[in-house]
Symmetry: C2
């Protein structure tokens, strides 16, 4: 039954594809570049993944599973829920802290602009992150770090927006360090900036 064994595994091809995307962006990815990276020939990739699109789908699926698994890890001995939230946010930043990685991350977020079928994968990762954030926020409420009655789901949405937006704007102006800006913005989102009389 078993014929000639594969010279290179699927996983190393996908890793190479991610690497290429990191360099030239998702739209600039070519089968030739990926094939070169792993010592194969473009046609082989088509045969193994069906098409270029098939390879991209496989890459999206793998990335999504990895990211979901990452977000399902329990809080690891962090002193407080909010501290764990900051850690989560900073880890997310690791996906955007170089121009290459940022381009890659952006490509992932906007995969549906390349191929609508890939949208579900980006969405599942996004929702896994949201669930993790909501869980931490609720812990924070339970432990008194956040005011009781906080709309944790809505706040989680804001936190996600802040994470994504901080990466985006930092990629644009490169002022300061990314963790520093993230921490400041997060603190601003979670603590008061207004005088005691509340605004409208």
């Amino acid at each position: 039954m078993a014929g000639r064994p594969r010279g290179v595994d699927d996983s190393v091809i996908l890793r190479a594809a991610a690497e290429v995307i990191g360099k030239v962006g998702p739209a600039g990815l070519t089968l030739a570049a990926v094939a070169d990276e792993v010592g194969l020939v473009p046609g082989t990739l088509v045969q193994r993944f069906g098409s270029k699109r098939g390879l991209l789908v496989a890459l999206a699926r793998r990335s999504a599973h990895e990211a979901e698994a990452h977000h399902e890890r329990p809080r690891q001995g962090r002193p407080s829920p909010l501290e764990a939230l900051r850690a989560l946010a900073e880890e997310s930043m690791a996906l955007m802290d170089t121009p290459e990685r940022f381009a890659n991350h952006l490509a992932f977020l906007c995969m549906d602009l390349i191929d609508p079928e890939l949208h579900e994968y980006a969405l599942s990762v996004h929702e896994a992150q949201r669930r993790a954030i909501v869980a931490l926020l609720e812990e924070a409420v339970a432990e008194g770090e956040l005011r009781a009655g906080t709309d944790t789901v809505a706040l989680a949405g804001s936190v996600q927006a802040l994470i994504a937006g901080t990466g985006l704007t930092w990629a644009l102006d490169r002022q300061g360090t990314l963790p520093e800006r993230l921490r400041r913005a997060l603190t601003g989102l979670l603590s008061p900036h207004t005088p005691s009389k509340e605004m409208s």
Copy 2:
């Protein structure tokens, strides 16, 4: 001296280019698509703009000038600085409230990923927006809407991140309406979410 008059103006070509980018993304733009849109032939665009890259540079330059001019408009009879800030943010959202416009906006933000020379244009728009936000925040401080001693520049950075990130995440999950989510996130950034005893 004067030869044959131009059948279509530069501005309508650039507008068509922006439209095409909105449909197929910046990397998917082809001269043929733009030429089709305005009833010309691809070669004509090369002759008029020097090259495809020249057309993109012209588009970036125009978009940058438009956006800067937009941000330099004075506060227009808004009841309060923070209300004006919310209005500014919501106007920014108008650039991302459809998939097409969002793609276009994203293309603009990431122009340097297409061509490094275009980065300066994206950056200048970003800084114009920052100046506008800082000005409003300082008015808010002066009028007592924000606590004295607020680091308006840092807070402006957070506001920008929130604007960009809200557009990004909304494009991903499409939950709720964009203005609603933006307003909630902004309120969260500018008002307290913690109990009176402040967190670290």
